[in-house]
Amino acid sequence: MHLFPEIHQLMRSPLDFAHILDEIPLGILVMDTNLRVVHLNRFFQALTGFSLDMARGIPCRNVLRSSACIINCPVLATHRKNRSISCTSDIINTDRQKLPVRITTAQIMDTQGHFTGYMETIEDLRSSASNDREKNVAYSFANIIGRSQKMETIFQTLPMLAQSDASILITGETGTGKDLVAEAIHQTSGRAGGPFIKINCGALPATLLESEIFGHMKGAFTGAVENKPGRFKLAHNGTIFLTEIGDLPLPLQVKLLTFLDDRIIYPLGATKGFNANVRIIAATHRDLKYMVSIGKFRKDLLFRLNVARVHLPPLRERGEDIRLLLDHFLNHYTKKQGKEINGFSEPALSVLLNYTYEGNIRELRNIMEYAVNVAQSTRIEADNLPAYLLDHEPIQRVSKIPATEAVPIPQSEQLPTFTAPQSAETEQTWSSVERQMIIDALKTSRGKKNKAAQILGMSRSTLWRKIKAYQIE
């Protein structure tokens, strides 16, 4: 189904209505009087994930999926009050993201003045909403938190990079916040009003990925029953974020390289190109230099993408940021779950500060979510932490990190820096934590072993054995 609605008598020749709507940097939805979707523009598709073919003829609330649609439909309010209505709300798109939006609705009249339907514009409020919320958070840039020297350098670099229009390559281990940085760059750039489209290059097979990224024309291959604009076209006047770029198949690397050269997209089966004004941000946890050396990544593409580079350090190299992040996520999950937790017990804090966090911030966040869920008192105790943490042998982090540049750092040089174990005073193993827990329990129970065993959730004989083993007097 491909429609060519036209506007007559405005200019000498009929105008392409769909093309006009596609050029407007707002999501636009046209509905009939029964609130069935008649038309939508490219920005709306980029925002919600619904194409015209998917949405045409179905009730608008199942396409926009805004909370306003269910709580107090702004379109019906427009009809009741006979005037345009504007409200802020949120939508959930097909990528399962909740986005803040401003919805403005108006009635559509025909040439005779008869009411024939509604038009709705959807403004993406992500940039302004996040700015308001994060304004008061110290040691941060957008949603990224840190006060270590490495992060300070990155915070100084990001606003400059955001203002330029250069391609950016973000590298770093998994869980270091590459997605967050990409979105922060977009939201603080001149393209913040445009779409931010993310593609995971490792999530789809090569054949599907090509049509997903570059689009296809109807009949280009078996099963191509409709035109598909492709993510590059949807990201027009915005930013495209290619995550896991290291997983991009070689043939598509060539096609991406061609785009970076002439900025024209050729959907599969198309004879005419589309001039896409898109900024590219790519990210990977892989060592692209090494991939180039073994022929898995094109050298020329690496050079094209590597105009500016941001390397996100792993958490173990961010020293004091761990405490900052622990407090941040404790605060976040405590509020979210309506609990009253004020801090950490000494043993719990010791375990948390000495853990290596191979999954980086993602792992730290998950640990905190678990701990807040499990905690029964007003402090996070060591036994509220996931068991694997307590079995873990701590490795000392680099606490004094020399000032290094955020851009560029060759990833091949970013091998984990491990140093000798910490001094006996600060080293915390599960044994020492457990010993401390037994002492605490004995203090609470005033030396009564039965009660102490109950507090610790172990049998009296186990407690007796452990007291002997730890030589607790």
Partner: protein, 120 residues
């Protein structure tokens, strides 16, 4: 015989477009994909995705058929071993019949497409 419980957040006869704004859930019990053995509707005191997730866990739901759902809740329910068909819209009984015949997919739309009263 293993019983299978399917939950569908509803709004009248339709699947509610947003999981987090659900106030009514229908729970259908079947022996695997066969006929319905039990049907009950739970009315929630308020719409809250956290409370709804809790209800689904307490009710030992195996499959959830719902509209738009945030990734956080989707991943949580999948982690709790609940099969989730999200982005489904239209009449809930049509969606359930498709689930019974094992032809339901996430994103399925069960509305009759119409514009200005005419089928398209």
């Amino acid at each position: 015989m293993t019983l299978h419980k399917t939950a569908i957040p509803i709004l009248g006869e339709e699947i509610v477009p947003r999981f987090d704004l659900t106030t009514e859930v229908i729970i259908l019990t079947t022996a695997e994909f066969s006929d319905i053995q039990d049907k009950k509707i739970i009315v929630l005191p308020r719409s809250s995705p956290d409370e709804l997730c809790h209800t689904l866990l307490v009710q030992e739901i195996n499959t959830l058929i719902c509209g738009a759902i945030e990734d956080e809740y989707y991943e949580f329910l999948k982690w709790k071993k609940i099969e989730v068909f999200d982005g489904v819209s239209g009449n809930w009984s049509h969606a359930f019949k498709r689930w019974q015949t094992q032809t339901l997919n996430s994103g399925d739309i069960f509305f009759t497409r119409m514009i200005e009263g005419r089928l398209i």
